[in-house]
C-alpha cells in the first residue's frame, strides 16, 4: 500500500516537472520572454540548486553554515579551468566540467567538514564564514585562477539556449536531496539535528553523517558553481564573498528550514524579484528589503497557517481527491 502511494507521488512529481518544463520552453521559443527574463532562467536554476543543497546542512542537519559560496566558487573555477583547457565538443566537455567541479567542491566539503565536527551553532557558523573567505583569498592569490583579474572567455555552455540541460540538472538535484532526506542516511542526519545525544545513543555515528551532509551539500554547490561560470563566461573571486553565502541563506530561511519545496519557491521569487523591481529605480533595493521583511513576517505568522488550513483550500483539496 505504502509503495503504491509513493509511486503515485512520484508520477505526480514527474508530471509537474514536465509541465513546468514545457511551459518555460514554449515561452522561451515562442519569443514571449523578454531578454531580461530570458537571462534570469539560468540564475533561477543556479539559486534553486544552491538553496536546496544548503538546506541539507542548514535545514536538515540543523547547522548554520555561512560558507556555501566558497563551495560554489571551488566548483565554478574548477569547471571553468576544465573547459578552458580542453578543446572538446560541449557534449563531452561540459559533463566533465560538472563532474570535476562537483568533486572538487566535495573534497573541500570534507576538508571543512572534518575540523568543524566538534563545533556547533554560532561557532560553526563563524568558522564556515572564515573558510569561505579563505577559499576566496586562495583563489585571489593563485596563478592558475588568474588572481583578482579572474578568468574570462569561458565558453557559454549554460546560457539560456541550453536551458534543458540546466533544468534537468536542477531537477536531478532536487530529487537527489529529497530522496536522500527520506533515506536511512537522511533520517540519521535529521536525528542529529533533533537531538545528537539521543542519535548517538541509538547507534548513529554523528561525525560520519555530519560530514556526509556537508559533502553532499558541497557537491551540489560545486555543480551550481560550474553552471554559473558557464552561464556568465567570466569569473572573479569577489563574486563569491560572504554576501553570496548570506543571499543563499536568506532563500533557505525564507523558504523554510527543512522544506525543499519552500527553498525552490523562495529561490525563484528572490531571484526574479530584484528584476521586477527594476522599474522602481533608486528605490529598488529598499523595496526589495521591505518585501523581504514582509515575506518573513508572513511566513512565520498565523496568517499563512490560517490560509493553508482554511475552508476553501481544504474544499479544493477534497474536490481534487474525488476527481
Amino acid at each position: 500500500m505504502k509503495n503504491r502511494q509513493t509511486d503515485k507521488q512520484l508520477i505526480k512529481n514527474i508530471a509537474i516537472t514536465i509541465i513546468i518544463f514545457i511551459i518555460v520552453e514554449s515561452l522561451l521559443y515562442g519569443g514571449l520572454l523578454s531578454r531580461q527574463f530570458r537571462s534570469l532562467l539560468i540564475p533561477v536554476c543556479i539559486n534553486v540548486i544552491l538553496a536546496v543543497s544548503l538546506n541539507l546542512t542548514t535545514g536538515f542537519l540543523g547547522e548554520l553554515t555561512l560558507g556555501h559560496a566558497g563551495f560554489m566558487s571551488v566548483g565554478a573555477y574548477t569547471g571553468a579551468l576544465v573547459t578552458l583547457n580542453m578543446n572538446l565538443p560541449m557534449a563531452i566537455e561540459f559533463p566533465v566540467a560538472l563532474f570535476a567541479g562537483g568533486i572538487a567542491a566535495a573534497i573541500f566539503g570534507v576538508i571543512i567538514g572534518v575540523p568543524v565536527l566538534r563545533l556547533r551553532g554560532d561557532y560553526l557558523a563563524i568558522v564556515t564564514l572564515a573558510f569561505g573567505e579563505i577559499i576566496k583569498s586562495i583563489i585571489n592569490s593563485m596563478k592558475i585562477t588568474n588572481g583578482a583579474m579572474g578568468l574570462s572567455g569561458i565558453e557559454l555552455h549554460a546560457n539560456y539556449k541550453h536551458f534543458a540541460y540546466v533544468f534537468a540538472l536542477t531537477v536531478i538535484t532536487i530529487f537527489a536531496i529529497k530522496n536522500m532526506v527520506h533515506s536511512r542516511q537522511g533520517r540519521a542526519v535529521c536525528a542529529i539535528r533533533d537531538n545528537y545525544i539521543a542519535a548517538e545513543a541509538v547507534g548513529i555515528s554523528v561525525s560520519r553523517f555530519k560530514v556526509m551532509a556537508f559533502v553532499v551539500a558541497a557537491f551540489f554547490a560545486g555543480i551550481a558553481g560550474v553552471i554559473y561560470s558557464h552561464n556568465v563566461g567570466t569569473l572573479k573571486p569577489t563574486t563569491f564573498d560572504y554576501n553570496k553565502s548570506i543571499e543563499i541563506l536568506v532563500i533557505v530561511v525564507l523558504g523554510g528550514m527543512g522544506s525543499i519545496r519552500g527553498s525552490v519557491i523562495a529561490a525563484i521569487i528572490l531571484t526574479v524579484l530584484p528584476e521586477l523591481l527594476r522599474s522602481a529605480d533608486e528605490f529598488r533595493m529598499l523595496l526589495y528589503a521591505i518585501v523581504l521583511i514582509v515575506m518573513m513576517i508572513f511566513n512565520s505568522s498565523q496568517i499563512k497557517q490560517r490560509i493553508l488550513s482554511s475552508e476553501i483550500l481544504s474544499r479544493l483539496r477534497r474536490v481534487k481527491k474525488e476527481a
Binding site: 533515506s183 536511512r184 542516511q185 537531538n195 539521543a198 548517538e200 545513543a201 541509538v202 554523528v206
Partner: protein, 252 residues
C-alpha cells in the same frame, strides 16, 4: 557468566570523586534496579555504561567484551541501549521515524540506492516499516505512528523512548527514571509494560527509579548507591529493610 560485569568502576571530575569502586553483576534476563538519593551518581553510572563519560578506572564487561573506551554509538551497537531522564526524542520527526532511526544499524542500504530508489531501498524500507510498527504495537502506539513525536502526551513520549531503545535490538536496556512525572495509574501500566518487554524481547533490564512501589514490584535485584559508593546489594525485601538504606535514602 553474567551478562554485565562491572568491576571497580570509578570516575573523577577534577577533584570530585563522583562514583567510586562501583561493582555490579547482572545475570541475563534479570530485572535489576539501581536506587539511591539524588546526586548519588546513578545517572553518572549510566553515562559510563553507555560511553558518554569515560571512566577513570574500572572495567565494564558486556557478554565477555570490555566496552570501556568505545563511543556511545559503538556501545549501542555492541548491545546496550538506554532512555534518558529528561526525554530526548527526535521532536521534529514522526513517531515511526523515531523508531526507524534506531533501526539504522539493523537494516542497511547504501546512500546511492537511497537516492536512486533502487529495489534494495524499497525492500529494506518496507521491512523497516513493518518492524517499527511491530515494536510500536507492543506499546499500543501503532495508531499514532504518523504523529509528530513532540505532539505526543508525556506518558507516550516516555514509552516511545523505550520503544526506540528496543529497536536497536539491545542485550541490555537501561531505563533512567522511566516513571518520572507519571501518575499512579500510568506507573502501574508502565510496570506491566516493562515486565512484558523483558519477556517478549528476551532482554535484561537495569533501571533507575525513585518510585519504591515500582522498584519493589518488578525488580528482582537491587543495588543502592549513596555518595558515589555502593551501600548494599540484594533482593528488594532485604535491601529496602536494611537499616542503613532506610537512614540514607528512604527515611525513618
Amino acid at each position: 557468566m553474567a551478562l554485565l560485569e562491572v568491576k571497580n568502576l570509578g570516575i573523577s571530575f577534577g577533584g570530585l570523586r563522583a562514583v567510586d569502586d562501583f561493582n555490579i553483576s547482572i545475570e541475563k534476563g534479570c530485572l535489576y534496579g539501581l536506587i539511591g538519593p539524588n546526586g548519588a551518581g546513578k545517572t553518572t553510572v549510566f553515562n559510563m555504561l553507555t560511553g558518554v563519560y569515560l571512566p577513570t578506572d574500572g572495567s565494564i564487561i558486556l557478554d565477555g567484551n570490555n566496552v570501556v573506551g568505545k563511543n556511545p554509538a559503538q556501545i549501542c551497537q555492541s548491545g546496550i541501549a538506554r532512555t534518558f531522564q529528561n526525554i530526548r526524542l527526535f521532536g521534529k520527526m514522526s513517531v515511526l521515524d523515531n523508531v526507524k532511526v534506531a533501526l539504522h544499524n539493523e537494516y542497511s542500504y547504501s546512500l546511492g540506492s537511497g537516492i536512486l530508489h533502487l529495489n534494495k531501498y524499497k525492500k529494506t524500507e518496507t521491512a523497516m516499516n513493518e518492524r517499527a510498527l511491530e515494536i510500536l504495537k507492543v506499546f499500543d502506539m501503532n495508531e499514532q505512528a504518523h504523529i509528530l513525536s513532540s505532539n505526543l502526551p508525556y506518558g507516550k513520549q516516555r514509552k516511545l523512548e523505550i520503544a526506540r531503545a528496543l529497536a536497536t535490538n539491545p542485550k541490555l536496556l537501561l531505563l533512567d527514571e522511566p516513571a518520572a512525572g507519571m501518575n499512579p495509574n500510568e506507573t502501574a501500566e508502565l510496570m506491566d509494560t516493562i515486565s512484558l518487554i523483558r519477556d517478549k524481547f528476551d532482554i535484561t533490564i537495569l533501571l533507575i527509579e525513585h518510585d519504591m512501589k515500582l522498584v519493589s514490584g518488578i525488580c528482582e535485584q537491587l543495588t543502592v548507591l549513596n555518595f558515589g559508593m555502593v551501600l548494599t546489594t540484594g533482593t528488594p525485601e532485604a535491601v529496602l529493610n536494611d537499616p542503613e538504606v532506610v537512614t540514607a535514602y528512604l527515611g525513618e
